[in-house]
Symmetry: C2
Subunit: 144 residues, 2 copies
């Protein structure tokens, strides 16, 4: 029990995207199948499959069906951000939501708190946005 920002979906998704980006770097137009991912990343087949389908629906990936099919990155790795992936699987980062219970907050404590949470929220977004798949496979931070 501890607050977390990245769950298994997101984690696997990022791993898959990084793997595909590395692959693409070598042999240009590489189509990656779920089977390949399972072998390489040692992740549960059915689960990663669902994740890939979601990424496809969200236009992060392109898919090709049938024999020799699989997935490809829909964009350059430097144009896919961690923040985007997080949002796909865990929704937007809206820390302040929680405080406005049922009705709008009656006392202004909450409003004060909400401002502060807003600051944190903004910071997280700023920190995560510049982290791209490309940045991750190169291990450089771009910013830090």
């Amino acid at each position: 029990m501890s607050i977390k920002l990245i769950n298994r979906n997101t984690d696997y998704a990022v791993q898959a995207l990084c793997y595909m980006a590395r692959r693409e770097h070598k042999h240009k137009p590489h189509v990656t199948s779920v089977s390949e991912l399972v072998e390489e990343l040692k992740v549960p087949r059915a689960f990663i499959r669902k994740i890939m389908q979601i990424l496809n629906n969200e236009s992060v990936l392109l898919s090709k069906r049938g024999w020799g099919g699989g997935f490809r990155l829909a964009r350059e790795p430097k144009k896919i951000s961690l923040l985007e992936v997080v949002k796909v699987f865990q929704g937007p980062i809206k820390l302040s939501e929680c405080v406005l219970q049922k009705e709008a907050c009656p006392n202004k404590n909450n409003c004060f708190l909400r401002r502060r949470l807003g600051t944190i929220e903004q910071f997280i977004n700023i920190q995560l946005k510049p982290i791209t798949i490309e940045g991750m496979i190169n291990g450089n931070s771009n910013v830090l």
Copy 2:
């Protein structure tokens, strides 16, 4: 579905603590019963009761049993921080945990990511620490 930093437990706890701090400010040694909180804050009785018990066990409150009993703040409002309350109900803020799946991360993407998450983690702690119950009832930020 959206990432959140404060859940209902924490929210109710903060509301109760703020109420008690305000009360104490007027009539010095005020003992607050669960019944009073239920009336004032309109929160479910059994639930807030459990929350108060936890805060008591964690030395945020002192309790008095029997007739005329109830709870009092164990410390001055300015010495009770939001961060402390969050930790009691939601555990420490450890955003980086998630990434180190099962075994230690095999590739250094993760390590890079972890550093960045560490930065965010630190920021959240720095932002939340100076927010005290006193600060909240006065509506001033102390820092911002």
